[in-house]
Symmetry: C2
Subunit: 151 residues, 2 copies
């Protein structure tokens, strides 16, 4: 039960991770705003729905994919629908649910966001580390993924 206090190396790595990730997000969000585009979360959802294809996705399937709370997904989808970027279809075998599908304008919006988002990734990551370094970074980050639930 008693947790060891973190090593200096862990603290430094943690601090860098917190700071850098926030800076990168902020920079990217600023770039999107500057181009009159919606936040990154919109891209995440549109991306998942585009990948999912014509079958679409159920809202609950988006929760883990975009790391949003249930009500967050519910309201984000409402905004996307209001903007005509997605459409909700009743699903035959479950009267509680619906299927969400990306529309043509949704795909178009996704492309427009990617033009800026992709450029941001290039500028902030791709141009700063070599392919090999990016691989090492991704590998190390992968080891931190999906922390198992501690009960």
């Amino acid at each position: 039960m008693t947790k060891k206090s973190p090593s200096p190396e862990a603290i430094v790595a943690w601090a860098r991770l917190m700071r850098v990730s926030r800076q990168l997000v902020e920079r990217t969000e600023d770039a999107l705003k500057a181009n009159g585009l919606p936040p990154l979360a919109w891209y995440d959802v549109l991306h998942e729905l585009a990948e999912a294809g014509e079958g679409g996705l159920r809202p609950f399937e988006l929760i883990d994919r975009v790391l949003l709370a249930q009500y967050g997904v519910s309201r984000l989808l409402a905004r996307l629908e209001a903007d005509g970027l997605v459409e909700k279809l009743p699903v035959s075998d479950d009267g509680r649910g619906q299927t969400v599908r990306i529309t043509a304008s949704g795909r178009e919006m996704r492309r427009r966001i990617w033009a800026i988002y992709g450029a941001s990734i290039t500028e902030l990551m791709g141009d700063r580390l070599s392919a090999k370094e990016l691989g090492v970074l991704a590998g190390l980050l992968g080891r931190l993924r999906d922390p198992p639930v501690t009960d």
Copy 2:
């Protein structure tokens, strides 16, 4: 002006960074909440003020250190003050500003948060990577810091 689209390696590293950092923050915030403690941002400010010592800090000095907007700092300090964790002192040579200093309860709160926060860092980072790997990670992340302003 035309930005190259990102390499697959950059995209993977970016995606991992975005996802992992959010998961780690979420996990840590959850642990704090579960222990009836305030959010990480409170710790950040209390930590900076503790480091600053008796002289305290001006609010504008906190802006870059904790990566918060000016109004974010203003309101967070108001909450901290309301909880008696910091105190605001007029500053003699600048009638516009104030100096913010951590109080005894502020230091105590910082300790209580660290007990949980530190344990979280150990569990989520320290226990998952070796000291050498943590060093490599910190080094790579350091290369992504403080992206120069593109004008």
